[in-house]
């Protein structure tokens, strides 16, 4: 599979994403600079990594959402290509209109780095095939603005269409809006596009792939992608 990791000024988890992809899918992604106007030919997966693109000044992901490369990402997504936005990448996807809603300051206004529990709400997406439906996984979060918000209709639509893929839960696996880390509406941790090919999530599966540094619950996400592309 061919993947591309976008690099914006201020991205800082592009290396983590690339490392996880290389480790799990066996092939090294291309690193693509924000000022490019095209993705490498044959790109299957585009990853928008974590970080503080443009310092996250103005609004997180706002400036990157308007970068030159984003037109190519939109086209890629429209063609049904896979797009994965993690943390700042999720924020960028929202700001660029590829996913609905927006991420605002955490309810307690503090940056939070912690392991979070997430329920995998569906396993029929290219990103979650290797998880059991309803499985509770442990991914770390590291963000100051992970508070997902959208208007009431959008939320209703997302829920109605089953597009919430990851939801923060309590240790018992129950959705628990008082337990959320960041105040996200409906405890939303990650959502997918209508065609299921664009996933945005706040937690960092790429930081939980290596037993030397922690749990490995994130591996299956990358395995899912590789598997989905293999089949395609």
């Amino acid at each position: 599979m061919k993947s591309a990791v976008l690099v914006f000024p201020g991205s800082n988890r592009e290396g983590d994403a690339a490392r996880a992809l290389t480790m799990i899918t066996g092939s090294k992604p291309a690193m693509v600079w924000h000022a490019e106007t095209a993705l490498p030919a044959g790109t299957d997966l585009v990853v928008l990594p974590g970080g503080f693109s443009y310092g996250d000044y103005l609004r997180c992901g706002a400036i990157a959402g308007r970068a030159a490369i984003m037109d190519a990402v939109r086209e890629h997504a429209a063609r049904g290509g896979l797009v994965l936005g993690i943390c700042n990448g999720f924020q960028i996807l929202c700001e660029s209109g590829l996913l609905p809603g927006v991420l605002v300051r955490n309810a307690r206004l503090r940056f939070i780095c912690r392991e979070a529990l997430l329920k995998v709400e569906r396993n029929d997406t290219p990103f979650t095939r290797r998880y059991a439906k309803g499985a509770v996984v442990r991914f770390p979060v590291a963000h100051g603005e992970g508070n997902y918000t959208a208007d009431v209709e959008t939320l209703k639509r997302l829920e109605g269409e089953g597009r919430v893929v990851f939801r923060y839960v309590s240790p018992g696996g129950q959705r628990d809006d008082t337990q959320v880390l960041n105040g996200a509406a409906n405890s939303i941790g990650g959502i997918v596009s209508e065609k299921l090919n664009v996933l945005g999530l706040m937690p960092h599966p790429e930081n939980h792939v290596d037993p030397v540094v922690g749990p490995t619950d994130g591996r299956a996400l990358f395995e899912s992608i590789a598997g989905a592309l293999e089949r395609a």
């Binding site: 000024p9 201020g10 800082n12 290396g15 983590d16 310092g55 940056f111 912690r114 100051g144 960092h204």
Partner: protein
């Protein structure tokens, strides 16, 4: 236009922090009255921060060499060889005063400064640590300072993209008006690709890189100059604002042009920005430097030469570029959206010449600016020795479980999770030991090698006995690194003291330095970098002497790494080292009996080494399941931390022939708690005998409580709740 400059008066000289005899020295050196810009340059070069005039003499006594030391003190950061062609580059620096004025920005720019020190050497930062000291929690400003400093440290490191993996936080009324913010950064570089400040080659371009220059942080004389400059419509803040985004770009751009072979010499613009960096590059390379300030990228209009030379705007670098490489270097910087300007060149006349708008604003001998800086042998008196505390003479009403619960929930011992969860400790995916352990462990590249790092000091000990306190700080850091299984390699120190013009304070500095030196020597743990912060006083009262030590060690195989959590029930718990029940200056005495008294525990460096080497060998041989060093709070606090980290309890044995409070809470040095699976017990005992190490069985892991014979059981969950409660409640009480 000829700019108007103020006349040099004794008042102006004093405002620049120069003493009359120092000014005399300037006159003698240059044979005439300095210009205003020159006065500014001297004040920057000859202040305590740049010249180390009070401490230099005593810093000379520190051991700085070892076969693995590539670069000791004197550069932006120390460099050590960690094998396989790799080098670790690290340093610690204080940003105390700015953090008091504006805690968020002060701390943020402190982190920015230390990261820059590390990547100036060609290293990519891989970890950051921070040692924070605040005043009494009840002091009205403390909460505000904690909140601001922590958000500042976090925001800068998180955005820059370096994991903040460790540190310490302490509270004491003696820091009420003087919080300490000591930031440490560790970087990784190829051992043969280290970059230095020393310029070589005549006529080469001196290049300015990074963010634009503003009137940030122009100290002391600002009030004077503000009356002359333009745009003084509002009282000018001297606070620097950090821009971690710019710093991240600067990092990437610098590493890229280094890789491309463009860089001859590089120096970051830290304190006293352009002045210090330019002078250092020239003086180290026996070259002159001529600067033309017309080319300096400025953020504000009408900046004078004086202001440009003294500005402390952040995220800037100065470089000497290799001949013919200007264009390539410029293209790389433009790609990253950063300023690039040729602002001068190297010369062969050993002069430091500053031109602005066709005028020569300064023309000074470059070597003498640094070399001839004042050096003081300030009078000092030894701190009077204190009596050893006899536990039998103490009136203790607290039960042992009661005292433990109080200690573990007290400000100094309470969990600092509320703080370190605001730091991204995971980014880069190499953090093998997160905050909460004895030392942080960060994998090197793809492993299996890792670096262990820790910072520590016990200011109470240092105040009671600077020499023993200095020794103890080094020993404790060495022990923390040992406790995860790593070999301690070198240290950086950050010496925070009061006013050195007072002989008692100077005595603390001298004593601590001697102690640090003695321990560094005995433990083969040389000093490779450091920083001095003096005059930390409010209303004539100094802070506790606080020589923060930051250490780095190497773990050859991350797979052997030890952690402090108990692993299973039914394992034997041993304590390595002698327990005599030393209560002088202990946390127990301070927190439970409200007495900060007595002689602190003496540090037997030979014993430290013997016990530490023994523990490390056990870890290496995989004979132990958990390891924790015993530090302040003593044995029971160490055991409680091991229990809380795991949820596993222990049945402990009652001490014999020793006061129980002193036994459980005494702070004898050179000790570790280890757990051993029952099958390995005999082997471990044999090893101890061979090594001549004192090893005492003190109990076994079991259940979910700590049981001490004759005392009520201590429920771990409840203990943990107390441990975790204090800081969030404290911080939640007033603010968001």
């Amino acid at each position: 236009m000829t700019s108007f400059e103020p006349k040099i008066t004794p008042e102006l000289v004093a405002e620049h922090g120069l003493k009359p005899d120092e000014y005399e020295r300037i006159l003698k050196l240059i044979g005439r009255e300095p210009s205003f810009t020159e006065l500014g340059i001297f004040s920057a070069m000859w202040n305590e921060h740049c010249s180390y005039k009070s401490s230099r003499l005593h810093l000379k006594g520190l051991p700085t060499k070892a076969p693995w030391v590539i670069q000791g003190p004197g550069e932006n950061a120390g460099v050590i060889d960690i094998g396989d062609g790799q080098a670790a580059v690290f340093k610690m620096e204080s940003h105390n005063h700015p953090s008091y004025i504006e805690p968020h920005q002060g701390a943020a720019t402190g982190v920015g400064g230390i990261l820059r020190d590390v990547f100036t050497m060609g290293a990519r930062p891989i970890a950051a640590l921070n040692a924070l000291r605040f005043g009494d929690p009840k002091h009205p400003r403390t909460r505000h300072l904690v909140s601001g400093v922590v958000s500042g440290v976090g925001s800068y490191g998180n955005s820059f993209g370096v994991p903040t993996v460790g540190g310490l936080v302490g509270f004491h009324t003696r820091y009420d008006g003087n919080p300490l913010v000591n930031a440490m950064a560790v970087g990784l570089a190829d051992a043969d690709k280290i970059f230095y400040a020393k310029a070589t080659g005549v006529g080469l371009p001196v290049v300015y890189l990074g963010s634009k220059t503003g009137r940030d942080g122009i100290h002391g004389a600002t009030m004077a100059s503000a009356e002359f400059g333009e745009g003084a419509e509002e009282k000018r803040p001297t606070v620097q604002v950090g821009d971690p985004f710019a710093e991240k770009l600067l990092l990437e751009a610098c590493l890229e042009i280094m890789e491309a072979g463009c860089v001859v010499a590089i120096q970051d613009m830290g304190a006293a920005g352009l002045t210090c960096s330019a002078v250092e590059m020239g003086a180290k390379g026996d070259l002159g430097i001529e600067l033309d300030l017309d080319n300096v990228p400025c953020r504000e209009t009408g900046m004078s030469a004086y202001e440009m030379m003294l500005s402390e705007s952040q995220e800037r670098m100065l470089m000497v570029i290799a001949p013919g490489k200007e264009e390539q270097a410029e293209a790389i910087f433009r790609k990253w959206g950063l300023d690039f300007a040729i602002v001068g060149h190297t010369t062969d006349d050993l002069r430091f010449v500053v031109k602005h708008k066709g005028e020569i604003k300064a023309d000074l001998p470059i070597k003498e600016l640094g070399d001839e800086a004042p050096l003081y042998d300030r009078p000092w008196v030894e701190t009077p020795k204190q009596q050893r505390i006899d536990p039998a003479a103490l009136e203790i009403s607290a039960t042992i479980p009661g005292a433990l619960e109080r200690l573990i929930g007290s400000p100094d011992f309470a969990s600092k999770r509320w703080i370190w969860e605001q730091y991204d400790y995971l980014i880069l995916n190499n953090t093998a030991q997160r905050p909460g352990g004895d030392a942080a462990v960060v994998r090197v590249l793809d492993g299996p090698k890792a670096l262990a790092m820790s910072c520590d000091v016990t200011p109470r000990y240092c105040e009671a006995d600077p020499f023993e306190g200095g020794k103890q700080a080094v020993a404790e850091v060495w022990r923390n690194i040992t406790a995860v299984g790593a070999r301690p390699l070198a240290l950086t120190d950050n010496l925070n003291f009061g006013n050195p013009e007072k002989p008692e304070i100077m005595g603390q500095l001298v004593g601590c330095l001697r102690g640090i030196g003695a321990a560094a020597l005995a433990l083969d743990f040389p000093v490779v970098s450091g920083n001095v912060s003096l005059y930390n006083e409010t209303n004539g009262r100094g802070i506790l002497p606080t020589p923060t030590i930051g250490g780095v060690g190497v773990l050859d195989d991350i797979d052997t790494m030890a952690t402090l959590a108990f692993k299973a029930g039914g394992e034997v718990i041993f304590v390595v080292g002698e327990t005599t029940g030393w209560l002088g200056q202990s946390a127990f005495l301070a927190e439970i009996l409200d007495r900060e008294e007595g002689a602190p525990p003496p540090v037997d460096l030979e014993l430290e080494r013997k016990n530490g080497d023994f523990v490390r060998a056990l870890i290496d041989a995989r004979l132990v399941t958990a390891v924790h060093d015993v530090s302040d709070g003593g044995l029971l606090v160490a055991l409680a931390e091991m229990a809380m980290a795991s949820g596993i309890g222990a049945n402990l044995l009652a001490p014999e022939g020793i006061n129980p409070h002193a036994y459980w809470f005494g702070e004898d040095q050179a000790r570790y708690v280890i757990t051993v699976a029952s099958g390995e017990k005999a082997q471990v005992l044999r090893q101890a005998e061979i090594a001549g190490v004192t090893l005492s069985k003190i109990g076994a892991t079991a259940g979910d409580r700590l049981n001490i014979p004759g005392e009520r059981p201590i429920v771990i969950d409840a203990l943990r709740e107390r441990h975790e409660a204090w800081l969030p409640i404290y911080m939640g009480a007033g603010m968001m």
